[in-house]
Symmetry: C2
Subunit: 341 residues, 2 copies
């Protein structure tokens, strides 16, 4: 049988209360006594039973998810995953609240972060915007002792504890290799469509894509990036115009959301053009386009995994526990029409 607090108490020759004080680093124990208890703990190899502790404490984890109110399928999916997590709240001892903020507006994000009552929240997950004021707001929160996890888009150079999302530079490079190899030895122009260069994930994808393209596929030349604000309408217009004005385009990398608009534009061109297309995020739209052959590959991040991971990480951090690193790594999923889930 695995040792308990009673065993510690017996070995150290103190009472349960004292053991507990030491375990939870609370004051009111003489240095010598503390030493004795800590030695006993090490000696018998005690490890705390978290489940029992949580039961006794009636512990709840009040978590906050700050999500952008973007009207695209990926963000809808992310919202849905958080709501599903809310549905599991009782069995996971979590109490999750969603704060919606306008997309791409740093001030709104800062306001949301600052609104959080420190002490009343055990952890925060946010889809970060890469702006200085957001950085400071995050740092303030962390300094106040609140665990913070970035979701989908990271915020480097801050003290956030963890990033639950894919490696976007690797994503860009992967997209470039797929596009380059799928195009064989062809020569022509490649179009890139982003949401906004304000968010780090999009910038990084573009960076990785451009770098590998330059290194390995010199016969393909990159057109200046288009910014569609992850909005289907805008994306549609931008792509349509570009295809009309440039007959040399043979490949497209859509690295943001709002692919509905892209797909519409591609379908309108129809069989006129043989294009190879790589897009991000598996949604009902990209899935259908993949099946139809309108899109050749979809790179994806599993929103459900990201949300579950963020929760695990925040909880673990809230009570100083360890994690299974491999379990928290968010993979870059590559979908062809053959391996759709």
């Amino acid at each position: 049988m695995r040792p308990t607090v009673h065993d510690i108490a017996a070995v150290a020759g103190v009472s349960l209360a004292t053991v507990d004080r030491v375990l939870n680093q609370r004051p009111g124990v003489r240095g010598v006594t503390r030493q004795r208890v800590e030695e006993a703990i090490r000696e018998i190899g005690y490890v705390r039973d978290v489940a029992a502790a949580n039961l006794a404490k009636g512990r709840l984890y009040p978590l906050v998810f700050i999500l952008p109110a973007s009207d695209n399928s990926f963000m809808h999916g992310l919202h849905a995953e958080v709501r599903q997590a809310i549905g599991r709240a009782s069995s996971e001892r979590t109490d999750i609240r969603i704060i919606e903020v306008p997309a791409f507006v740093p001030a709104a994000l800062v306001a949301a972060l600052d609104s959080l009552a420190v002490g009343a929240t055990a952890g925060v997950a946010l889809v970060a915007i890469d702006a200085p004021e957001v950085r400071s707001a995050v740092d303030r929160l962390v300094a106040a002792g609140v665990p913070v996890v970035t979701l989908v888009s990271d915020l480097t150079g801050t003290s956030r504890h963890h990033y639950a999302g894919v490696d976007n530079i690797a994503a860009g490079r992967t997209a470039a290799r797929l596009l380059g190899r799928f195009l064989g030895g062809l020569e022509g122009d490649v179009l890139t469509l982003a949401g906004s260069m304000l968010v780090r994930d999009h910038r990084e994808r573009l960076e990785g894509f451009s770098a590998l393209m330059a290194e390995e596929f010199p016969r393909l030349s990159l057109l200046p990036v288009l910014e569609g604000r992850d909005d289907p309408e805008t994306a549609n217009r931008l792509i349509s115009d570009a295809l009309s004005n440039n007959g040399r385009i043979i490949g497209i990398y859509s690295l943001g959301a709002g692919n509905r608009g892209l797909i519409k534009a591609l379908k309108e061109r129809g069989a006129q053009r043989e294009l190879t297309v790589v897009a991000h995020e598996l949604t009902e739209h990209t899935r259908a386009a993949l099946k139809d052959g309108v899109i050749d590959a979809v790179l994806n991040q599993d929103a459900g995994h990201e949300v579950r991971s963020a929760i695990r990480v925040l909880k673990a951090h809230a009570d100083g526990l360890g994690l299974i690193a491999a379990q928290e790594r968010i993979r870059l999923d590559i979908f062809l029409k053959d391996n759709l889930p």
Copy 2:
């Protein structure tokens, strides 16, 4: 506050013991009383606190993993993941035992399955061999009330509760499309290397690969499958011979393990031949080969995920709980040299 057994007892006007009997479907309760309790449960929306229940029971989950003693990196990795799970045993209330059996020997697997003391084991995970005697042994175990999960390779047509592994037909199709597209419009022969047609996963991969090749890449013709028994030496010899004897080979699909031998053969040929290669399972060998450009893509199943999933599923089944389906889906990972973990 969420309702407890006390609330049920109060509403139903019975004692805790009776509530418990109903909750755990134990005898010794009159029909009417049972009804009354069940109604109270529904009325107040009670859900059992599993952690508290396990604490009170001192519950342990004695699980058994039956693994083949194959000498290849993938199986070594799988073993390692199970051992890591054993390291987490105390916090997960599991007691995991590994039974090693010779690879590809149905009788050994059957013996291992039959050796399991029913009642003393809360669940079994096994890398299945697709043979009739194995089927019956699994069915016997399930009939005796032991939850069974197949790992890596499935056993359809049995009553096993769950399969923790990838969709191997989809894997084969995906490999075919990658190879086909990477080869552009080239014409030539494609070689397939399997471990053994005895295991279902290899058969299915080949099936998916052949089907898609025939459908979409008629200019590539498939050579008869080679069986390397997942053994590096054998694989090396088979591949070397094939490459020497046939100059038309332009692509290779290695759908089993033992890739060390394949890679050695490829390196010996060196720059003499421009080959496009897709292999399975990310190991130190395939990873290095991917980086070197010897292999173009690696399809992988995350052994860690498979093991953790098998454990979650067995535990959930052992006490009749639900799962998060998406969390238990084992993805087909596609690795290019750019998105290696």
